[in-house]
Amino acid sequence: MREAHVDLLPRLGAFARLLHDAGLEAGPRRLTDATRALAFIDLKKHDDFRSALRTVFVSRKEDIPTFEAAFDIFWAPPDPRAAAGVMPGRGRSLPLPPERAQAWANALGLNTSQLNRERQDSEFVARSSGYSAEELLRRKDFEEMTWAETEQVRRLLEQAPWRVAERKTRRLRPARTGRIDLRRSARHAIRSSGELMTLFHRRARVRRRPLVLICDVSGSMERYSRLLMIFAHAIARREDLEAFVFSTRLTRITRLLRHRDVDRALDSVSKSVHDFSGGTRIGDAIGDFNRRWARRVLGHGAVVVIVSDGWDRGDPAQLSAELVHLRRSAHRLIWLNPLLGSEGYEPLTRGMAAALPFCDDFLAAHNLQALDDLGRLLAGLDSRSAR
């Protein structure tokens, strides 16, 4: 087999490590593929070189910008202007963990800010106070909770006993009753000289419905945001969950919630969501979801849960139109409103009034009890639609 130019190999290895640190899958197998691929490429053609490495190291669209940034930073041709402090094409940021960013900056002769976004450190130390009666905690408004109490809520959420309901899939499984399984019945018959002695059956297998959570993190929801994120993290650990947050725009946080550790997960969410506690444009956010994400995440009979207090600065007509569309593509549309828990609340905000007719369910979300109610609803969904 032909091999790429020998001098290139150590550099290629270093590049794979950079990609790895930036979150791409760049293990030995990919490195071997890259080495083999480069043997077939005219290395003087910069674009082909780039495409060859991209086709080997990238395996999802979201990783393309990271790859391009890493490629620009790593393989940038020596530029005389670099000496003068100007480095064209090196301004893009790479999502490197801070401890690695420093090492890379040194290795590549850059300063860290050229590699990495500013890291705002907002790490709290979780203290755990000894006592709080669980029953009281369940009914306490999230807004009034101390840090220690939210820690307890987190543990309770992780232990919550419910799971999202199942739906029938089109895949068939052997069963005692149901449709006749010709394959098994006939195979059996052949063994008894073509006599159909026993009929075997099969039925659709069941799968848990995917859950899509679209969470308002605008200013008016600030008091609830942290707990709702903890809630999202807890369900992400056991359910098929797609999660989004919005205030002025929509951000997908599904992957960020995959961290085992809730604090690290929340930390990465707050770093990638740039409009926490901004204003709200619910219609825009739902519209964005409908256009960019609905087709990807609403397959397989998904249940959509929107969490928002309905304070909306956008156009109520637009919100209604987007919800109509969303409801058509979801199995069930549930709206959670933390304010619903406050005494005497009526859904009078413009946004809420516009949204209400299009939601299948309208529930509170201000305390643990309310989230349990949601859990029971999700667990009880049957294959029939609520409509």
């Binding site: 899958e25 197998r29 990919r30 593929d33 083999r36 691929a37 077939f40 490429i41 674009d47 082909d48 495409s51 060859a52 991209r54 086709t55 080997v56 990238v58 395996s59 999802r60 669209k61 393309i64 899939t169 089109r170 895949r171 068939l172 010709l182 394959r183 006939a186 195979r187 018959a189 052949i190 063994r191 000289s193 073509g194 519209g287 409908n290 256009r291 087709r295 990807r296 995440v297 397959g299 397989h300 139109a321 569309h325």
Partner: protein, 336 residues
């Protein structure tokens, strides 16, 4: 029980060297390809430029980076995983590849619940039962079983066909819209793509004599598992820019006049910038250009565009939204 039935059919043959394969291929002609096949078109591509040129000859206008991915996946003998929005030419890329390689295209369309009986093989039970009945009591059972579990009674589905065939040139296996299948099927594919072998209990293990060129496409309606992607080279097909799209319309819808081709392409580019539920793909551009050409149009105008918009826009809300802006869009497209 099936142990003593198993007719050992280990038809293992190592992976043929691509050069040898290409050599064999060169001796043959392929009437089904449509055009006269010369020595040149059935050899394996020698370079990225070669792939580019051959795609172009087949009127497939793609990026050089796509040509690079195709070239490398042939050279490294790895499956090519193509993703992109609906209608950007993912499936078409595989079809054209089969043509330029002079290979047979084997297509497996995925859907929810697809299983081995539909993807790999199935026994022809009615025929087997009938056969057993006809044999009657006289024949001994073991012979009967050997007979009915022979290839004569086997219904070969695309994946078995891709592995077990006598093609002179390894076929192109297109696994289309894998995002529609489920995790179980993905897991099976993962296994198939690592060893290129299939086990049929009654017959034995069938190994590929030659590795097919595998193209997997996905519309990203869900994320495909990383383990499967890890086996593949990856390519994302983006919407083309205006000039490229004009070129595609000219190549694929030659019945549209030059001016019309450009205007329709510009119109669709304009639509892609709008806030729509379903952004039109290249396939829609082509449909639209063909529709307008069929109406005898050589230029676009607001009336024609309003009447034929359904070729590109598939949601009622999108049609409504665009309808108000047709005159402005047409004007912009004509200036582009």
């Amino acid at each position: 029980m099936s142990g003593n039935l198993a007719v050992s059919a280990h038809r293992a043959v190592g992976k043929a060297d691509p050069a040898i394969r290409a050599g064999q291929a060169a001796l043959l002609t392929f009437p089904d390809v449509g055009t006269s096949v010369t020595f040149d078109t059935v050899t394996a591509p020698a370079s990225i430029e070669d792939v580019e040129r051959r795609l172009r000859e087949r009127r497939y206008i793609g990026d050089r980076s796509l040509a690079t991915s195709i070239f490398l996946s042939l050279k490294l003998e790895k499956p090519l995983f193509i993703e992109g929005e609906a209608g950007v030419g993912k499936t078409e890329a595989a079809k054209v590849m089969a043509e330029v390689l002079g290979a047979r295209l084997i297509r497996l369309q995925c859907y929810e619940g697809i299983d081995l009986a539909h993807a790999v093989y199935e026994w022809n039970y009615p025929r087997q039962l009938l056969h057993i009945r006809l044999l009657g009591e006289s024949d001994d059972r073991r012979t009967a079983e050997r007979e009915i579990f022979s290839s004569e009674f086997l219904l070969r589905r695309p994946l078995l066909d891709a592995i077990d065939n006598d093609d002179a040139i390894p076929p192109v296996l297109l696994i289309d819209e894998i995002d529609r299948s489920d995790e179980e099927f993905e897991a099976f594919l993962l296994e198939l793509l690592s060893d290129f072998q299939v086990s049929i209990p009654e017959i034995g293990t069938i190994r590929a004599r030659q590795v097919p060129f595998v193209v997997i496409t996905s519309n990203r309606t869900r994320e495909v598992h990383d383990a499967l992607k890890r086996r593949c080279l990856y390519h994302w097909i983006d919407y083309p820019d205006l000039d490229k799209e004009v070129e595609i319309v000219r190549a694929r819808a030659p019945e549209a006049a030059d001016g019309l081709a450009r205007e329709v392409a510009a119109l669709v580019q304009g639509l892609r910038g709008m806030d729509l539920y379903k952004v039109p793909g290249v396939a829609e551009t082509l449909d639209w250009a063909r529709s307008l050409a069929a109406l005898g149009a050589t230029r676009i105008d607001p009336t024609l565009v309003s009447a034929t918009m359904g070729a590109a826009l598939k949601y009622q809300e999108d049609l409504e939204r665009v309808r108000e802006q047709v005159p402005a869009l047409v004007e912009k497209a004509q200036r582009a």
